[in-house]
């Protein structure tokens, strides 16, 4: 089908909208974000890789990496969902999401430390397992999984995931930018058609990436819900990230007519929804495992009762669900610039703690690691025989280290800096998107 007409230029639709960042404007912030991100990461990589326990560092790095990767993948998902639903409200927000996805190639580069230096430290449990029958430490379970869990296929899959993500993100970003010039409405149709198989590919690749990169840290354990749990947290965090970034950009005087209280309200609603969705998936995973009570499944949660991690479980129940559920429920909270930003910042911190909960216990006394499980001092046990929350909290705060924070914040700053770089370089809004006028007059009922 060929389009018979083109979308009029924005000057005709909305002459008041500022379409470009002024030359040199926001440059300092972009450089600061990129600089701080690069320095934090470089310091962390330098100190961590040369430390006496590089394995611990790679677990920190993976924590930060998966946290921020989830945000960039969330941006890709957001872009595709807007196209497949032909959403009118989000045209302005979508341009920022498109620029966030431009950071995925950088995330591919940042995967290299995991692939090169960290592989044996992180995945040695299955990669170096004895899987030939008759060997002294023969591991029958890993032998059974070895046709999937082997080093060659692992890296082939990693390459495939990045190829899918980078391919999709480049297609949507470039087509959208191309429409700025041609105003061809057929491009919108094309994007909504590609979004359908794109979302399928995205769902499969993200699920298996979560299996490969986090779940295989504990290769005896498995959960088919694991991928969606990872995705739910990542997409929520992307929405928190874009709420903060868009707020900051509007405070600099740009996009004010395009991303208004109405749009922030919608971003807040989605953020709230996916915060609840995270709870839904995580609880579903927990309840089925708890109910069936099969040792090969409960082991994952059993390890998270050691080494202080049960306090983190409690923190997540409150911080990733109950507290934000009550605080973000009200319409007034989501429509208020300050409270929405505070909620978004809080959820970005909680997302980091969630990633710790998924990754770090595999180092701290997790199954198959040679690091001794922490022995609980009987004096700190509560009446029920469990260590008290305070004791566990203390232990957790001792177990996490500087690198857990440096890697996450460093990569977050890098992604924000890259996004800002493209925001400055390209048009602020999809100038000739057929649904731009709808975005500009969008109101919540």
């Amino acid at each position: 089908m060929t389009a018979t007409m083109t979308v009029p230029p924005i000057q005709m639709v909305a002459p008041h909208v500022v379409i470009r960042v002024k030359d040199g404007d926001l440059r300092t912030s972009q450089m600061a974000l990129l600089g701080v991100g690069a320095i934090l990461l470089a310091v962390s990589l330098g100190l961590g890789m040369t430390s006496h326990d590089p394995a611990r560092f790679y677990f920190s790095y993976l924590t930060g990496y998966m946290g921020v990767l989830g945000i960039t993948l969330g941006a890709l998902f957001f872009t595709m969902v807007q196209h497949i639903t032909r959403a009118g409200w989000s045209v302005g927000v979508r341009r920022i999401a498109e620029h966030v996805t431009a950071a995925i190639p950088v995330m591919a580069l940042l995967y290299l430390p995991i692939a090169i230096g960290g592989f044996d430290h992180l995945y040695g449990h299955w990669a170096n397992a004895e899987i030939v029958a008759g060997q002294p430490n023969y591991d029958a379970i890993i032998a059974g999984k070895s046709s999937y869990l082997n080093k060659q296929f692992f890296f082939v899959r990693a390459g495939l995931y990045f190829a899918i993500w980078i391919g999709l993100s480049m297609f949507f970003r470039r087509t959208s930018l191309k429409q700025d010039e041609t105003g061809d409405p057929a491009l919108s149709l094309r994007m909504s058609r590609i979004a359908a198989p794109g979302l399928l590919l995205f769902a499969l690749s993200t699920t298996f990436a979560a299996f490969d990169w986090i779940m295989s840290l504990d290769p005896h354990w498995f959960s088919t819900m694991f991928g969606i749990c990872y995705f739910a947290g990542g997409f929520m965090s992307f929405l928190a990230f874009v709420a903060l970034l868009a707020r900051w950009i509007t405070r600099q005087g740009y996009l004010r007519e395009v991303i208004t209280t109405e749009h922030f309200h919608d971003i807040g609603k989605l953020m709230f929804a996916f915060m609840v969705f995270w709870t839904y998936t995580n609880f579903s995973q927990y309840m089925l495992i708890w109910y069936a009570n099969l040792p090969e499944e409960t082991t994952w949660f059993a390890h998270r009762k050691e080494g202080g991690w049960s306090s983190v479980g409690t923190i997540l129940v409150f911080g990733h669900f109950l507290v934000p559920f009550v605080l973000l429920m009200s319409r007034h909270i989501k429509r208020n610039a300050i409270t929405l930003s505070l909620g978004a910042a809080f959820l970005l911190v909680i997302h980091w703690i969630d990633m710790q909960y998924l990754v770090l216990p595999n180092y701290h006394g997790g199954h198959g690691t040679e690091h001794a499980a922490h022995v609980v001092d009987p004096a700190t046990l509560s009446a029920a025989g469990h260590p008290s929350f305070g004791h566990d909290l203390d232990l957790w705060l001792h177990n996490i280290n500087l690198h857990d924070g440096l890697c996450y914040i460093g990569m977050l700053c890098l992604v924000a800096g890259i996004t800002l770089m493209f925001v400055r370089k390209h048009n602020l809004v999809p100038l000739r998107d057929p649904r731009l006028a709808e975005t500009l007059s969008f109101q919540n009922i």
Binding site: F283, Y286, M287, W290, Y291, Q443, I445
Partner: protein, 177 residues
Amino acid sequence: MANHWGIVAEFDSASAIYHAAERVTAQGYTKVDAHTPFPVHGLDKALRQGPSHLGWLVICCGATGICLAQLMMWWMNAVDYPMWVSGKQPYAWPSTIPVTFELMVLLSAFGAVFGMFGINKLPRFHHPIFTHTQFHRVTDDRFFLSIDSTDPKFDRAATAKMLESIGGKHVELLEEE
């Protein structure tokens, strides 16, 4: 006077009724309503309608659902007929969550639907506004603005004149049923 329901005027377009609503409320009328074939963005603001109270009703219903589900399962499983299934406590919180969630959703939905009915005084068989000669076109291509006779500023002659002056057609005074 008391046997009049109110005055209704017809407008041709969404933008006409939007501006009419703005001007009527600007003059101090408070009991004003609009009837349109489709939702008109921003019309609630032009009518100066406050936020709906339905949310508070829904949250109360949802909280009732949570409490009721917990009470029910605790009483049935741990008090009235304690049963140990596969080593779980008779009252084990993870197993109560799905039912709690469902009952919360059920009562919230009831609260939202029936609460909306109650606030709107629905269902009813008839409404005075249907006596307006043009009102059947509200589902097609016409927009209607009504001013209730209980409005403090309501005055049969002055209000009708005002509606005509802002472009209203078929301005009719409607009887109470």
